[in-house]
Protein backbone atom coordinates (compact mmCIF):
# COMPACT_ATOMS: atom_id res chain seq x y z
CA UNK A 1 0.00 0.00 0.00
CA UNK A 2 1.57 3.26 -0.97
CA UNK A 3 0.51 6.20 1.08
CA UNK A 4 2.05 9.61 0.60
CA UNK A 5 4.15 10.66 3.51
CA UNK A 6 6.00 13.80 4.24
CA UNK A 7 9.46 13.64 2.70
CA UNK A 8 12.15 13.21 5.29
CA UNK A 9 14.64 16.06 5.37
CA UNK A 10 17.80 14.99 3.60
CA UNK A 11 20.14 16.40 6.18
CA UNK A 12 20.30 18.89 8.94
CA UNK A 13 20.55 21.87 6.64
CA UNK A 14 17.12 21.41 5.14
CA UNK A 15 15.46 20.99 8.52
CA UNK A 16 12.75 23.40 9.33
CA UNK A 17 12.76 25.32 12.54
CA UNK A 18 10.38 22.95 14.17
CA UNK A 19 10.90 19.48 12.89
CA UNK A 20 8.02 17.81 14.66
CA UNK A 21 4.74 19.31 13.47
CA UNK A 22 3.05 18.29 16.64
CA UNK A 23 -0.12 20.13 15.90
CA UNK A 24 -0.71 18.75 12.44
CA UNK A 25 -4.06 17.08 12.11
CA UNK A 26 -3.70 15.26 8.83
CA UNK A 27 -2.43 11.76 9.32
CA UNK A 28 -1.28 10.26 6.07
CA UNK A 29 -1.20 6.76 7.44
CA UNK A 30 -3.28 5.87 10.42
CA UNK A 31 -0.76 4.51 12.76
CA UNK A 32 -1.93 2.85 15.89
CA UNK A 33 1.11 3.41 18.02
CA UNK A 34 2.49 6.84 17.34
CA UNK A 35 3.34 8.49 20.60
CA UNK A 36 4.55 11.89 21.61
CA UNK A 37 6.63 11.73 24.73
CA UNK A 38 8.02 14.47 26.84
CA UNK A 39 11.43 13.46 27.98
CA UNK A 40 12.32 15.85 30.72
CA UNK A 41 12.72 18.43 32.12
CA UNK A 42 12.55 16.10 35.08
CA UNK A 43 14.09 12.95 33.77
CA UNK A 44 17.04 11.04 35.12
CA UNK A 45 18.89 10.92 31.84
CA UNK A 46 18.67 14.43 30.46
CA UNK A 47 21.58 15.73 32.50
CA UNK A 48 19.77 18.51 34.20
CA UNK A 49 16.78 20.21 32.80
CA UNK A 50 16.81 19.43 29.11
CA UNK A 51 13.39 18.75 27.74
CA UNK A 52 13.21 16.67 24.60
CA UNK A 53 9.90 16.13 22.89
CA UNK A 54 10.11 12.78 21.18
CA UNK A 55 7.80 11.61 18.48
CA UNK A 56 7.87 7.85 18.55
CA UNK A 57 6.56 5.10 16.41
CA UNK A 58 6.57 2.33 18.95
CA UNK A 59 10.16 2.62 20.05
CA UNK A 60 11.51 4.24 16.91
CA UNK A 61 12.23 7.93 17.02
CA UNK A 62 10.57 9.87 14.24
CA UNK A 63 11.76 13.24 15.37
CA UNK A 64 12.93 15.24 18.32
CA UNK A 65 12.61 18.77 19.48
CA UNK A 66 14.75 20.17 22.24
CA UNK A 67 13.15 22.67 24.54
CA UNK A 68 15.80 24.57 26.42
CA UNK A 69 15.92 27.51 28.74
CA UNK A 70 14.94 25.95 32.01
CA UNK A 71 18.28 26.97 33.46
CA UNK A 72 18.51 30.36 31.78
CA UNK A 73 20.05 32.91 34.11
CA UNK A 74 20.92 35.62 31.65
CA UNK A 75 24.65 35.35 32.08
CA UNK A 76 25.33 37.44 28.99
CA UNK A 77 23.05 40.20 30.19
CA UNK A 78 24.60 40.14 33.64
CA UNK A 79 27.96 40.78 31.97
CA UNK A 80 26.72 44.13 30.69
CA UNK A 81 26.12 45.34 34.23
CA UNK A 82 29.33 44.14 35.82
CA UNK A 83 32.88 45.29 35.44
CA UNK A 84 35.24 42.98 33.61
CA UNK A 85 36.66 41.74 36.89
CA UNK A 86 33.31 41.29 38.54
CA UNK A 87 32.03 39.19 35.69
CA UNK A 88 34.91 36.74 35.94
CA UNK A 89 33.29 34.43 38.56
CA UNK A 90 30.05 34.28 36.60
CA UNK A 91 31.59 32.37 33.72
CA UNK A 92 32.35 29.50 36.11
CA UNK A 93 28.63 28.97 36.47
CA UNK A 94 28.09 28.14 32.83
CA UNK A 95 29.85 24.86 32.33
CA UNK A 96 30.09 24.09 35.98
CA UNK A 97 31.94 20.82 35.49
CA UNK A 98 34.71 22.58 33.57
CA UNK A 99 34.81 25.89 35.38
CA UNK A 100 38.54 26.34 34.96
CA UNK A 101 38.27 26.23 31.17
CA UNK A 102 35.53 28.82 31.22
CA UNK A 103 37.68 31.10 33.31
CA UNK A 104 40.65 30.60 31.04
CA UNK A 105 38.66 31.53 27.96
CA UNK A 106 37.26 34.67 29.51
CA UNK A 107 40.52 35.85 31.02
CA UNK A 108 42.41 35.33 27.78
CA UNK A 109 39.73 37.13 25.81
CA UNK A 110 39.91 40.17 28.09
CA UNK A 111 43.69 40.02 28.06
CA UNK A 112 43.60 40.08 24.29
CA UNK A 113 41.28 43.07 24.46
CA UNK A 114 43.67 44.80 26.83
CA UNK A 115 46.72 43.78 24.82
CA UNK A 116 48.46 42.25 27.77
CA UNK A 117 49.91 38.80 28.02
CA UNK A 118 50.07 36.59 31.05
CA UNK A 119 53.59 35.74 32.21
CA UNK A 120 54.91 32.30 31.26
CA UNK A 121 54.62 30.90 34.77
CA UNK A 122 50.95 31.82 34.88
CA UNK A 123 50.49 30.24 31.48
CA UNK A 124 51.96 26.97 32.64
CA UNK A 125 49.81 26.92 35.76
CA UNK A 126 46.83 27.66 33.60
CA UNK A 127 47.62 24.78 31.29
CA UNK A 128 48.06 22.34 34.16
CA UNK A 129 44.82 23.32 35.83
CA UNK A 130 42.87 23.41 32.59
CA UNK A 131 44.04 19.98 31.56
CA UNK A 132 43.24 18.61 35.01
CA UNK A 133 39.84 20.11 34.55
CA UNK A 134 39.51 18.47 31.17
CA UNK A 135 40.19 15.13 32.78
CA UNK A 136 37.66 15.84 35.52
CA UNK A 137 35.06 16.84 32.97
CA UNK A 138 35.66 13.72 30.90
CA UNK A 139 35.46 11.58 34.01
CA UNK A 140 32.13 13.04 34.95
CA UNK A 141 30.95 12.55 31.39
CA UNK A 142 32.09 8.94 31.38
CA UNK A 143 30.34 8.14 34.63
CA UNK A 144 27.01 9.66 33.68
CA UNK A 145 27.17 8.35 30.13
CA UNK A 146 27.80 4.82 31.34
CA UNK A 147 25.01 5.18 33.86
CA UNK A 148 22.65 6.23 31.07
CA UNK A 149 23.54 3.10 29.17
CA UNK A 150 22.93 1.10 32.31
CA UNK A 151 26.37 0.46 33.73
CA UNK A 152 26.21 1.81 37.24
CA UNK A 153 29.67 1.06 38.48
CA UNK A 154 31.87 3.35 36.33
CA UNK A 155 30.03 6.33 37.80
CA UNK A 156 31.43 5.65 41.22
CA UNK A 157 34.90 4.86 39.94
CA UNK A 158 35.14 8.09 38.00
CA UNK A 159 33.78 10.15 40.86
CA UNK A 160 36.30 8.58 43.18
CA UNK A 161 39.15 9.61 40.88
CA UNK A 162 37.71 13.00 40.04
CA UNK A 163 37.77 13.73 43.73
CA UNK A 164 41.57 13.81 43.67
CA UNK A 165 41.52 16.55 41.03
CA UNK A 166 38.99 18.52 43.00
CA UNK A 167 41.24 18.25 46.03
CA UNK A 168 44.07 19.82 44.05
CA UNK A 169 41.73 22.62 42.97
CA UNK A 170 40.60 23.14 46.51
CA UNK A 171 44.11 23.40 47.79
CA UNK A 172 45.04 25.77 45.00
CA UNK A 173 42.20 28.23 45.14
CA UNK A 174 39.83 27.16 47.89
CA UNK A 175 36.97 26.10 45.64
CA UNK A 176 36.23 22.71 44.19
CA UNK A 177 33.69 23.25 41.49
CA UNK A 178 33.29 26.90 40.57
CA UNK A 179 36.94 27.63 41.03
CA UNK A 180 37.51 31.17 39.75
CA UNK A 181 41.10 30.05 39.47
CA UNK A 182 42.44 32.70 37.07
CA UNK A 183 42.47 36.44 37.01
CA UNK A 184 42.68 38.80 34.10
CA UNK A 185 46.38 39.05 33.48
CA UNK A 186 47.48 35.83 35.08
CA UNK A 187 46.76 33.92 38.24
CA UNK A 188 45.93 35.30 41.63
CA UNK A 189 47.51 32.54 43.63
CA UNK A 190 51.00 31.16 43.60
CA UNK A 191 51.08 27.37 43.60
CA UNK A 192 50.99 25.97 47.08
CA UNK A 193 53.89 24.02 48.51
CA UNK A 194 53.80 20.49 47.19
CA UNK A 195 51.59 21.36 44.23
CA UNK A 196 53.94 19.82 41.73
CA UNK A 197 54.37 16.75 43.86
CA UNK A 198 50.65 16.23 44.11
CA UNK A 199 50.09 16.69 40.41
CA UNK A 200 52.88 14.23 39.71
CA UNK A 201 51.31 11.77 42.09
CA UNK A 202 48.09 12.13 40.21
CA UNK A 203 49.89 11.47 36.94
CA UNK A 204 50.99 8.15 38.33
CA UNK A 205 47.63 7.49 39.96
CA UNK A 206 45.29 7.97 37.03
CA UNK A 207 46.54 5.72 34.17
CA UNK A 208 45.74 2.47 36.02
CA UNK A 209 42.34 3.90 36.83
CA UNK A 210 41.67 4.69 33.17
CA UNK A 211 42.67 1.12 32.42
CA UNK A 212 40.08 0.13 35.01
CA UNK A 213 37.34 2.10 33.25
CA UNK A 214 38.34 0.60 29.96
CA UNK A 215 38.39 -2.88 31.42
CA UNK A 216 34.77 -2.38 32.46
CA UNK A 217 33.58 -0.90 29.21
CA UNK A 218 35.78 -1.00 26.13
CA UNK A 219 35.69 -4.72 25.50
CA UNK A 220 32.25 -5.26 26.94
CA UNK A 221 30.00 -6.75 24.30
CA UNK A 222 26.91 -5.02 25.61
CA UNK A 223 28.73 -1.71 25.67
CA UNK A 224 29.91 -2.24 22.10
CA UNK A 225 26.44 -3.14 20.93
CA UNK A 226 24.96 -0.14 22.64
CA UNK A 227 27.49 2.33 21.28
CA UNK A 228 28.72 1.12 17.88
CA UNK A 229 26.78 2.64 14.99
CA UNK A 230 24.61 4.58 17.40
CA UNK A 231 24.13 8.28 16.89
CA UNK A 232 26.31 8.44 13.80
CA UNK A 233 27.12 11.89 12.47
CA UNK A 234 29.19 12.36 9.35
CA UNK A 235 32.06 14.80 9.20
CA UNK A 236 30.20 16.96 6.67
CA UNK A 237 27.09 17.15 8.85
CA UNK A 238 29.17 17.85 11.93
CA UNK A 239 30.99 20.72 10.25
CA UNK A 240 27.77 22.08 8.79
CA UNK A 241 26.18 22.15 12.22
CA UNK A 242 29.20 23.77 13.81
CA UNK A 243 29.79 20.84 16.09
CA UNK A 244 33.16 20.96 17.79
CA UNK A 245 35.22 19.13 20.33
CA UNK A 246 35.35 15.37 20.76
CA UNK A 247 32.09 15.01 18.85
CA UNK A 248 33.67 16.54 15.76
CA UNK A 249 36.94 14.71 16.20
CA UNK A 250 35.15 11.37 16.48
CA UNK A 251 33.79 11.98 13.00
CA UNK A 252 37.32 12.07 11.70
CA UNK A 253 38.03 15.82 11.58
CA UNK A 254 41.34 16.62 13.19
CA UNK A 255 40.36 19.97 14.62
CA UNK A 256 41.58 21.03 17.99
CA UNK A 257 42.07 24.68 18.90
CA UNK A 258 45.01 23.76 21.10
CA UNK A 259 46.87 22.86 17.91
CA UNK A 260 45.01 24.95 15.36
CA UNK A 261 45.44 28.31 17.12
CA UNK A 262 47.50 27.64 20.21
CA UNK A 263 46.68 29.72 23.23
CA UNK A 264 48.18 29.78 26.71
CA UNK A 265 51.33 27.68 26.51
CA UNK A 266 50.02 24.87 24.39
CA UNK A 267 52.51 25.46 21.59
CA UNK A 268 55.25 24.30 23.97
CA UNK A 269 53.90 20.82 24.40
CA UNK A 270 53.90 17.70 22.37
CA UNK A 271 50.58 15.89 22.25
CA UNK A 272 48.33 14.15 19.81
CA UNK A 273 44.78 14.79 18.77
CA UNK A 274 42.82 11.56 18.75
CA UNK A 275 40.24 11.17 16.02
CA UNK A 276 37.63 8.59 15.28
CA UNK A 277 36.42 7.14 12.02
CA UNK A 278 32.71 6.45 12.11
CA UNK A 279 31.45 9.31 14.21
CA UNK A 280 29.40 6.97 16.36
CA UNK A 281 29.00 6.87 20.09
CA UNK A 282 31.79 4.38 20.53
CA UNK A 283 34.26 6.58 18.65
CA UNK A 284 33.33 9.53 20.81
CA UNK A 285 33.91 7.37 23.83
CA UNK A 286 37.31 6.27 22.59
CA UNK A 287 38.30 9.81 21.62
CA UNK A 288 37.56 11.06 25.10
CA UNK A 289 39.37 8.16 26.73
CA UNK A 290 42.47 8.90 24.65
CA UNK A 291 42.10 12.60 25.36
CA UNK A 292 42.34 11.89 29.06
CA UNK A 293 45.64 10.14 28.51
CA UNK A 294 46.86 12.93 26.25
CA UNK A 295 45.95 15.47 28.89
CA UNK A 296 48.07 13.54 31.31
CA UNK A 297 50.89 13.77 28.80
CA UNK A 298 50.54 17.54 28.57
CA UNK A 299 50.47 17.90 32.33
CA UNK A 300 53.51 15.68 32.62
CA UNK A 301 55.44 17.95 30.28
CA UNK A 302 54.20 21.11 31.92
CA UNK A 303 54.63 20.23 35.55
CA UNK A 304 58.29 19.35 35.12
CA UNK A 305 59.27 22.76 33.81
CA UNK A 306 57.07 25.42 35.25
CA UNK A 307 59.19 28.52 34.70
CA UNK A 308 60.05 30.82 37.57
CA UNK A 309 58.78 34.35 37.52
CA UNK A 310 55.80 36.48 38.28
CA UNK A 311 52.29 35.13 37.97
CA UNK A 312 50.52 38.37 37.19
CA UNK A 313 51.11 40.69 34.26
CA UNK A 314 50.81 44.40 34.74
CA UNK A 315 47.12 45.07 34.56
CA UNK A 316 45.53 48.33 35.66
CA UNK A 317 43.44 48.23 38.83
CA UNK A 318 40.43 49.42 36.90
CA UNK A 319 40.12 47.58 33.67
CA UNK A 320 39.03 49.90 30.94
CA UNK A 321 39.77 48.43 27.52
CA UNK A 322 39.86 50.61 24.49
CA UNK A 323 36.83 50.68 22.24
CA UNK A 324 36.83 47.54 20.16
CA UNK A 325 35.75 43.99 19.95
CA UNK A 326 37.44 40.68 20.29
CA UNK A 327 36.61 37.05 19.69
CA UNK A 328 38.72 34.53 21.50
CA UNK A 329 38.06 30.85 21.69
CA UNK A 330 39.67 27.96 23.47
CA UNK A 331 39.29 24.22 23.35
CA UNK A 332 37.10 23.48 26.34
CA UNK A 333 36.51 19.82 27.24
CA UNK A 334 33.27 19.90 25.31
CA UNK A 335 34.44 21.79 22.27
CA UNK A 336 35.12 25.32 21.11
CA UNK A 337 34.29 27.78 23.84
CA UNK A 338 34.35 31.29 22.45
CA UNK A 339 33.90 34.72 23.99
CA UNK A 340 32.95 37.66 21.86
CA UNK A 341 33.43 40.84 23.85
CA UNK A 342 32.51 44.31 22.66
CA UNK A 343 34.00 47.13 24.62
CA UNK A 344 32.67 50.69 24.53
CA UNK A 345 35.63 51.98 26.48
CA UNK A 346 33.86 51.92 29.84
CA UNK A 347 34.56 49.66 32.79
CA UNK A 348 31.77 47.36 31.78
CA UNK A 349 31.59 45.34 28.59
CA UNK A 350 29.04 46.60 26.09
CA UNK A 351 28.14 43.09 25.09
CA UNK A 352 29.46 39.66 25.87
CA UNK A 353 28.41 36.80 23.70
CA UNK A 354 29.42 33.29 24.63
CA UNK A 355 29.70 30.54 22.08
CA UNK A 356 29.05 27.54 24.25
CA UNK A 357 30.10 24.17 22.84
CA UNK A 358 27.23 22.27 24.47
CA UNK A 359 24.60 24.48 22.92
CA UNK A 360 25.98 24.06 19.44
CA UNK A 361 26.60 20.35 19.86
CA UNK A 362 23.06 19.81 21.10
CA UNK A 363 21.82 20.79 17.64
CA UNK A 364 23.21 17.55 16.31
CA UNK A 365 20.88 15.52 18.54
CA UNK A 366 18.07 15.45 16.02
CA UNK A 367 19.97 14.07 13.05
CA UNK A 368 21.85 11.69 15.30
CA UNK A 369 18.79 10.00 16.74
CA UNK A 370 16.36 9.97 13.84
CA UNK A 371 15.39 6.41 13.10
CA UNK A 372 17.10 5.13 16.22
CA UNK A 373 15.34 3.82 19.31
CA UNK A 374 14.40 5.57 22.53
CA UNK A 375 17.28 3.95 24.35
CA UNK A 376 19.65 5.51 21.83
CA UNK A 377 18.33 8.99 22.55
CA UNK A 378 19.57 8.59 26.07
CA UNK A 379 22.91 7.28 24.87
CA UNK A 380 23.29 10.13 22.39
CA UNK A 381 22.38 12.83 24.90
CA UNK A 382 25.04 11.33 27.09
CA UNK A 383 27.64 11.15 24.37
CA UNK A 384 27.12 14.78 23.34
CA UNK A 385 28.29 15.67 26.83
CA UNK A 386 26.07 18.65 27.33
CA UNK A 387 25.85 20.73 30.45
CA UNK A 388 22.58 22.55 30.69
CA UNK A 389 24.11 25.43 32.59
CA UNK A 390 26.11 26.15 29.49
CA UNK A 391 23.34 25.48 27.00
CA UNK A 392 20.92 27.84 28.69
CA UNK A 393 23.43 30.23 30.23
Amino acid sequence: MSVPTKPEPANALTNEVSNLDLATSEKPYLDSNELVINMGPQHPATHGVLRVILKLDGEKVLGTECVIGYLHRGVEKIAENRTYTMFNPYVDRMDYVAAVSNGLGYCEAVEKLLNVEAPPRAKYIRVILTELNRIASHQLWLGTHALDIGAMTPLFYTFRDREEILKIFEKYCGARLTTHAFRIGGCQYETYAGFEKEVENYLAFLPPKIDEYEALLTGNRIWLERTKNVGVISAADAIALGVTGPVLRASGVKWDLRKAQPYAAYSDFDFEIPTGKNGDTFDRYMVRMVEMRQSLRIIEQAVGRIPEGPIMAKVPKVIKPAVGEIYHSIEAPKGELGYFIVSDGSTQPYRVRVRPPSFVNLQALDIMVRGMLVADVVAVIGTLDIVLGEVDR
Binding site: M1, V3, Y29, D31, S32, N33
Partner: protein, 173 residues
Amino acid sequence: MTPGMAPVATPFFFYLLSGLAVLGGVLVITRRNAVHSALALIVTLLAVSGLYLMLYAPFVAGVQIIVYAGGIMVLFLFVIMLVNIERTAKERQFNRIWPAGVLAAVALLGLFVSVYVKGKRLFPDSNLPLPETSNTQQIGVMLYGNYMFSFEIASLLLLVAILGAVIMAKKRI
Protein backbone atom coordinates in the same frame (compact mmCIF):
# COMPACT_ATOMS: atom_id res chain seq x y z
CA MET B 1 -1.62 -38.22 44.88
CA THR B 2 -1.47 -41.45 46.74
CA PRO B 3 -3.99 -43.93 45.43
CA GLY B 4 -7.10 -44.45 47.45
CA MET B 5 -7.01 -40.99 48.97
CA ALA B 6 -10.21 -39.04 48.53
CA PRO B 7 -9.80 -35.58 46.98
CA VAL B 8 -10.44 -32.82 49.46
CA ALA B 9 -13.80 -31.04 49.63
CA THR B 10 -14.71 -31.73 46.02
CA PRO B 11 -18.24 -30.28 45.94
CA PHE B 12 -17.10 -27.09 47.63
CA PHE B 13 -14.25 -26.52 45.18
CA PHE B 14 -16.42 -27.47 42.27
CA TYR B 15 -19.07 -24.92 43.11
CA LEU B 16 -16.49 -22.28 43.92
CA LEU B 17 -14.59 -22.78 40.68
CA SER B 18 -17.61 -23.12 38.44
CA GLY B 19 -19.20 -20.10 40.10
CA LEU B 20 -16.04 -18.12 39.40
CA ALA B 21 -15.94 -19.36 35.83
CA VAL B 22 -19.55 -18.40 35.10
CA LEU B 23 -19.21 -15.07 36.90
CA GLY B 24 -16.10 -14.34 34.86
CA GLY B 25 -17.97 -15.30 31.71
CA VAL B 26 -20.80 -12.92 32.52
CA LEU B 27 -18.34 -10.11 33.19
CA VAL B 28 -16.49 -10.79 29.94
CA ILE B 29 -19.56 -10.10 27.85
CA THR B 30 -20.93 -7.21 29.88
CA ARG B 31 -17.94 -5.00 30.67
CA ARG B 32 -17.57 -1.76 28.77
CA ASN B 33 -13.80 -1.68 29.09
CA ALA B 34 -11.98 -4.37 27.16
CA VAL B 35 -9.25 -4.63 29.78
CA HIS B 36 -11.80 -5.41 32.45
CA SER B 37 -13.23 -8.05 30.14
CA ALA B 38 -9.79 -9.53 29.72
CA LEU B 39 -9.31 -9.61 33.49
CA ALA B 40 -12.62 -11.42 33.86
CA LEU B 41 -11.63 -13.86 31.14
CA ILE B 42 -8.39 -14.61 32.99
CA VAL B 43 -10.42 -15.42 36.09
CA THR B 44 -12.58 -17.75 34.02
CA LEU B 45 -9.58 -19.44 32.46
CA LEU B 46 -7.91 -20.02 35.81
CA ALA B 47 -11.15 -21.36 37.28
CA VAL B 48 -11.56 -23.73 34.33
CA SER B 49 -8.00 -24.88 34.80
CA GLY B 50 -8.88 -25.62 38.40
CA LEU B 51 -11.81 -27.69 37.13
CA TYR B 52 -9.40 -29.62 34.92
CA LEU B 53 -7.32 -30.43 37.97
CA MET B 54 -10.46 -31.76 39.64
CA LEU B 55 -11.07 -33.92 36.56
CA TYR B 56 -7.61 -35.48 36.97
CA ALA B 57 -6.27 -33.73 33.93
CA PRO B 58 -3.23 -31.93 35.37
CA PHE B 59 -1.41 -31.66 32.07
CA VAL B 60 -4.33 -29.95 30.38
CA ALA B 61 -4.58 -27.66 33.38
CA GLY B 62 -0.91 -26.76 33.05
CA VAL B 63 -1.27 -26.16 29.34
CA GLN B 64 -4.33 -24.05 30.02
CA ILE B 65 -2.37 -21.82 32.41
CA ILE B 66 0.72 -21.53 30.22
CA VAL B 67 -0.90 -21.12 26.85
CA TYR B 68 -4.14 -19.39 27.68
CA ALA B 69 -3.48 -17.30 30.74
CA GLY B 70 0.21 -16.72 30.13
CA GLY B 71 0.21 -16.49 26.36
CA ILE B 72 -3.05 -15.74 24.67
CA MET B 73 -4.28 -13.32 27.29
CA VAL B 74 -1.04 -11.38 27.16
CA LEU B 75 -1.56 -11.14 23.43
CA PHE B 76 -5.07 -9.86 24.01
CA LEU B 77 -3.92 -7.28 26.52
CA PHE B 78 -1.16 -6.23 24.18
CA VAL B 79 -3.61 -5.64 21.36
CA ILE B 80 -6.06 -3.86 23.63
CA MET B 81 -3.27 -1.48 24.57
CA LEU B 82 -2.31 -0.90 20.97
CA VAL B 83 -5.84 -0.19 19.82
CA ASN B 84 -6.87 1.50 22.99
CA ILE B 85 -9.25 4.21 21.93
CA GLU B 86 -11.36 5.73 24.61
CA ARG B 87 -14.10 6.34 22.12
CA THR B 88 -14.94 2.64 21.98
CA ALA B 89 -15.72 2.49 25.66
CA LYS B 90 -18.14 5.38 25.39
CA GLU B 91 -20.04 4.06 22.42
CA ARG B 92 -22.99 1.73 22.28
CA GLN B 93 -21.69 -1.63 23.38
CA PHE B 94 -24.21 -4.00 21.82
CA ASN B 95 -25.12 -4.20 18.20
CA ARG B 96 -28.62 -3.62 16.89
CA ILE B 97 -29.59 -7.22 16.53
CA TRP B 98 -28.72 -8.10 20.10
CA PRO B 99 -32.25 -9.33 20.99
CA ALA B 100 -32.01 -11.88 18.23
CA GLY B 101 -28.60 -12.98 19.40
CA VAL B 102 -29.70 -13.38 22.99
CA LEU B 103 -32.81 -15.20 21.82
CA ALA B 104 -30.75 -17.66 19.78
CA ALA B 105 -28.38 -18.24 22.64
CA VAL B 106 -31.19 -18.77 25.10
CA ALA B 107 -32.81 -21.19 22.67
CA LEU B 108 -29.55 -23.11 22.58
CA LEU B 109 -29.46 -23.09 26.36
CA GLY B 110 -32.99 -24.50 26.33
CA LEU B 111 -31.79 -27.22 24.03
CA PHE B 112 -28.92 -28.04 26.34
CA VAL B 113 -31.21 -28.13 29.35
CA SER B 114 -33.71 -30.38 27.67
CA VAL B 115 -30.97 -32.74 26.51
CA TYR B 116 -29.43 -32.89 29.94
CA VAL B 117 -32.75 -33.39 31.68
CA LYS B 118 -33.96 -36.04 29.27
CA GLY B 119 -30.65 -37.80 28.92
CA LYS B 120 -29.57 -37.67 32.50
CA ARG B 121 -29.28 -41.39 32.78
CA LEU B 122 -26.83 -41.45 29.88
CA PHE B 123 -24.18 -40.07 32.18
CA PRO B 124 -23.05 -42.60 34.76
CA ASP B 125 -22.60 -41.41 38.30
CA SER B 126 -19.40 -43.32 38.80
CA ASN B 127 -16.40 -42.58 36.69
CA LEU B 128 -14.06 -45.09 35.21
CA PRO B 129 -10.58 -45.08 36.76
CA LEU B 130 -8.21 -42.66 35.12
CA PRO B 131 -4.50 -42.93 35.79
CA GLU B 132 -3.54 -39.57 37.19
CA THR B 133 0.04 -40.10 38.24
CA SER B 134 1.25 -40.86 34.74
CA ASN B 135 -1.16 -38.50 33.04
CA THR B 136 1.54 -36.46 31.34
CA GLN B 137 3.44 -39.49 30.10
CA GLN B 138 0.30 -41.05 28.66
CA ILE B 139 -0.75 -37.89 26.90
CA GLY B 140 2.73 -37.68 25.47
CA VAL B 141 2.53 -41.25 24.22
CA MET B 142 -0.85 -40.60 22.63
CA LEU B 143 0.24 -37.34 21.02
CA TYR B 144 3.24 -39.00 19.43
CA GLY B 145 1.42 -42.27 18.77
CA ASN B 146 -2.22 -42.28 17.77
CA TYR B 147 -2.36 -38.59 17.10
CA MET B 148 0.96 -38.18 15.35
CA PHE B 149 -0.57 -36.91 12.15
CA SER B 150 -2.92 -34.51 13.89
CA PHE B 151 0.00 -33.29 15.94
CA GLU B 152 1.99 -32.48 12.84
CA ILE B 153 -1.00 -30.76 11.29
CA ALA B 154 -1.44 -28.73 14.45
CA SER B 155 2.17 -27.61 14.26
CA LEU B 156 1.66 -26.66 10.63
CA LEU B 157 -1.43 -24.73 11.64
CA LEU B 158 0.59 -22.85 14.21
CA LEU B 159 3.26 -22.04 11.66
CA VAL B 160 0.66 -20.71 9.25
CA ALA B 161 -0.92 -18.72 12.05
CA ILE B 162 2.41 -17.18 13.00
CA LEU B 163 3.11 -16.20 9.42
CA GLY B 164 -0.41 -14.91 9.00
CA ALA B 165 -0.28 -12.84 12.15
CA VAL B 166 3.09 -11.37 11.25
CA ILE B 167 1.94 -10.41 7.78
CA MET B 168 -1.37 -9.00 9.02
CA ALA B 169 0.25 -6.89 11.67
CA LYS B 170 3.01 -5.60 9.44
CA LYS B 171 3.11 -1.88 8.91
CA ARG B 172 2.74 -1.63 5.19
CA ILE B 173 1.55 -4.57 3.20
